[in-house]
Symmetry: C2
Subunit: 213 residues, 2 copies
């Protein structure tokens, strides 16, 4: 199986296939053709076949793919078959929303600590609807706690003005992955990975499609 | 100027350039070369030149681009030079976070109403940190209010089980754009546009990069 050189757009679709396959597995479906998967995921069938060519050996000619096997393969490729330990930095509205985001728990993404600078927040715990409550620490304990709890991904939900200094702390603590919700560009050294989630960027994209459709 | 056939990845980068150019305009910079813009936006310089080739006529050879003109052109292309009227459906944690998301107001994206099914919420108003408080209506008034307030984009932040029925209501009300935060695929007729914002999909992408770096 080829693990390398998968284009980013394919990776995004693999995640989508993974979600659809999970739903299929839950409803007891065992085998799926690329055409069925395409229709379920609302993706072009040729595109699905092209993407799944990376896993070609696992399909059964004329039948399709074993749902469970394909799901496992995709998760292995994505790295989403293991548990990822995460921290939320900035327990405002968005941070709180992420702390109770049910889909994370379902998908092996586990928030194990959160951080803020606001003393009334810092003494507390955020209750998590599923699972255990998450503790809120002061940001000046980020490095210590990140190491102690083996945090691998930091979700930055601070105001934009604080995002870079939080990213620097995460880098110092050896947290290699950052999901940046603060609408500003942050810089990290090589070997660290930042993904931006800028709602206005996504809206710009939607606005473009609405204006040109 | 070519308005058509701009690839989606370019559109995403245009939005990023737009953000960088705004910061430059705010700090009084008047002219920018493609190399400077590239460095500021942390994009490959060749990529910036390729993207900006869509606006080639507006650059000045050997000098670069007028910040203000380029920003206006990009905003016109994206459709983000006009105000977009939006509604949030589902005033839970995430919905509340979006209702107070400051970057929307800065960028011409205006939330003019919100909806829920929970009676204690429905009688209230959400205070918006900048601007006016946003009223919360019962979802069964969605169609009426959407037309009255000329809503063009709906942000779905309901549980996944409710997302499709909310999308159906938006379609009935003629709301052409949907930003879907509920982690499930929704279907809309032709002429309507859905953009998904699935945090776990973005995390899958990050997990892949962390596993393969």
């Amino acid at each position: 199986m080829k693990y390398q050189k998968i284009p980013e757009a394919t990776i995004r679709r693999l995640s989508r296939y993974s979600r659809c396959l999970e739903e299929m597995e839950e409803s007891g479906e065992e085998v799926v053709s690329s055409a069925q998967l395409a229709s379920r995921c609302m993706v072009n069938a040729a595109q699905v076949r092209k993407d799944l060519a990376y896993f070609g050996e696992f399909g059964i000619r004329g039948v399709g793919y074993h749902v469970k096997n394909l799901l496992n393969d995709i998760k292995r490729i994505l790295g989403s078959n293991k548990e990822w330990r995460m921290a939320v930095i900035g327990v405002g509205n968005l941070g709180s929303a992420l702390l109770s985001y049910k889909d994370f728990l379902k998908q092996n993404y586990k928030i194990v600590a959160s951080f803020d600078i606001d003393p009334p927040k810092v003494i507390g715990r955020v209750s998590e609807k599923l699972g255990k409550p998450v503790e809120i620490f002061h940001v000046n304990r980020l490095k210590e706690i990140a190491k102690e709890r083996k945090i691998e991904i930091g979700l930055i939900t601070t105001p934009p003005s604080e995002a870079q200094s939080v990213a620097d702390l995460l880098v110092e603590a050896g947290v290699r992955g950052i999901l940046n919700f603060a609408p500003t560009q942050i810089v990290v050294p090589e070997g660290f990975v930042v993904k931006d989630v800028f709602f206005t960027t996504i809206l710009d994209n939607l606005a473009y499609l609405l204006s040109n459709n």
